[in-house]
Point group: C2
Chain length 138, copies 2
């Protein structure tokens, strides 16, 4: 059961809408596709990365994508909700690494300049298989 | 080192600003204080809770706060950035349960109606003590 309602419609600025569109496309073409060649279309080379599993800049990210492609070549990043506030976009999604994967709940915050990602923070946790809560995490 | 920049200033609607103020106050008076008596000032009784550790409505939350007060009576929820988009507020903060605690990185999404929380999602992870990344998670 998921009783989630859609966000109120708020008039985004043209830049906010462009930022949301950029992140939606990036999640599909870079993260779902695990495509290192897509990175430079979405992220500046010297972006500030706060994820603690990779280093600074786009090269460690490209290497991460190559390695992920080996053990889970067809992941799904299922966006549950996405928000914009000025030059930031926030996405909440369910990552399943393969069909049937319980997967991870992830929230990302992206800061953009000129419709390119310049900074990134994230928090991720495994979706629990048992819970006292009758409704799900999304 | 934390190279984080502040979000661009965007003109919030009066309701968005009220929502942000509501969440900031709630984090201080409810979460930092672990005060079950504060819950009804911030959250409607039948709110939809997606956190998988507690059940629906405010009673399980009040019980959670009472139990947390026993083993970590003075936590700090250090807000690193907070956003508004229509009727949603997104907060990214560092939870330290006690002084010196490495703690957790947490992102919360709140949906509000009439400046009260009606739905909540979150993702939390332990802050790692070792990382290949020279900058921190915030």
């Amino acid at each position: 059961m998921n009783q989630t309602t859609e966000p109120d419609t708020r008039a985004y600025t043209a830049q906010e809408q462009a930022n949301i569109d950029h992140i939606r496309t990036m999640i599909r073409e870079l993260l779902d596709a695990l495509d290192p060649d897509a990175v430079d279309r979405f992220i500046v080379p010297d972006y500030i990365q706060h994820n603690q599993m990779v280093g600074q800049g786009t090269e460690p990210l490209k290497q991460f994508l190559r390695e992920a492609k080996v053990h889970s070549p067809e992941p799904c990043h299922d966006i549950k909700r996405i928000f914009a506030d000025g030059n930031h976009v926030i996405a909440h999604y369910h990552l399943r690494r393969w069909p049937g994967d319980t997967g991870y709940a992830i929230m990302d915050i992206f800061r953009l300049e000129n419709t390119m990602v310049v900074e990134h923070w994230d928090v991720m946790m495994e979706v629990p298989t048992e819970s006292p809560n009758p409704i799900g995490p999304f």
